[in-house]
Symmetry: C3
Subunit: 191 residues, 3 copies
Amino acid sequence: MSASAKAKVNNEKLREKIATQMREKYDRVLPLDEMLLDRWKKAEFLGFGEQTSVYENVYVYGKPEVGKNVWVGPFVVLDGTGGLKIGDGCDISCGAMIFTHSTHLRCVSERNMGTETKPVKIGNYVYVGSGAIILPGVAIGDHSVIGAGAVVSKNVPALSVVMGVPAKKVGNVVLKGKKAKLEFNSNSDEW
Amino acid sequence: MSASAKAKVNNEKLREKIATQMREKYDRVLPLDEMLLDRWKKAEFLGFGEQTSVYENVYVYGKPEVGKNVWVGPFVVLDGTGGLKIGDGCDISCGAMIFTHSTHLRCVSERNMGTETKPVKIGNYVYVGSGAIILPGVAIGDHSVIGAGAVVSKNVPALSVVMGVPAKKVGNVVLKGKKAKLEFNSNSDEW
Amino acid sequence: MSASAKAKVNNEKLREKIATQMREKYDRVLPLDEMLLDRWKKAEFLGFGEQTSVYENVYVYGKPEVGKNVWVGPFVVLDGTGGLKIGDGCDISCGAMIFTHSTHLRCVSERNMGTETKPVKIGNYVYVGSGAIILPGVAIGDHSVIGAGAVVSKNVPALSVVMGVPAKKVGNVVLKGKKAKLEFNSNSDEW
């Protein structure tokens, strides 16, 4: 058997064993490398806050500051090269990408211009929906909800609900005692 | 040579060998772990239907029920924690994400509230375009087309074409004998 | 210790070592397999131009032709099965997906119809934003900017700025000497 054929057989045996364990214990089946590497240890290595977890396939550039109890999903990009700060208790859902630098002018100027950087600040208890993209320079206030697939190019005040491409404010987060609910604007019934 | 330098050299040799084989046989070059692991065996392990394939980097939560002859692309999330059923003959294109739970209220309520779950049901012969996001609670009828990048927050009747963020119905799938075509509404010429 | 437990320990040791090196040298922490495999060697293997780099987790189908000095980010799909040509100096940002075939009619026709292919041509110094999707048949002229999250279904003339789902022209790239800037249409202040 060739070296690559052997590697294939070994990988598949390992996958079956570890996926069986993971399904029993955690009711999920992840890519093999995720099952072989701890999410909390990655967050700890990155200097993120307590109980924060970061999937193995997250790409981390620069040194983003991330608070505690933050969940960072798979297929995420955290670009700290222009300064990225994420507060406590946020969810950064699957496929969300947060950028603090852009190369578009460098690219179209045939590298005569440089990279632009602008910081991003995300408050506490902010929900960043799956597939959302946060562009450089954006600040998002506490307790806001960024909808799935939103492209956020402007600041988002605290307690806002924003959605769409580009993201627009479509409602508010209302906190009352220990409960939270979303109240949508009358003209945003399309959601 | 250090352990990590050795690991690097070994990985690159393995990649070159296996990528050469894969390019010759299947005209593609995939990430190394995909080339070392079989997509049909992963689907079989998950209990999915015959001839269904699931790329290694797909994240599977809970126990989604998936029919036969379904193609599940890379960068996909299948969240079965709230109940997910996908029929036969569907394409779940690259980067599509299907969710049956949401944590947005748990997040903004500082974990005073819990996770919400709602089931998703996708019929037979449904095409879910690349990067599309299906939100909890959605039902999609047979033979529908979900456009690339669509965010689907409402039910989709059978034989519909939906597109956009949020997804709206822009046309119909017309079946005639063994042929299918898309008919767009007159007001949807932007696509 | 079981085989899978041993594999876990070994992987985590390796990750810590190599991530420490990568953080010091390149100020980033990538998934383990990215840190073990060279991006420029992958591009060279694929026959792409000089100084082009391709992240390990990029999925390459068929034989796309890609010029020199192109940056291809993570979570990208390059589908060359219908003919894909990318010029020099382009940025293909994180999560961008470029398709030259579609299976939607094959899917909804229960495999009575086949796959459709149409070529895609991307000029020189084109910036394809993060999460953008380029659909089969599209041609994009030199020095254009495709916004983050855009879904491009129609041709894009040179020096254009397009954004949204579906992508629409919202402005122009203006080159003057060695400088480039974006000029937005008056009716596109939403961005």
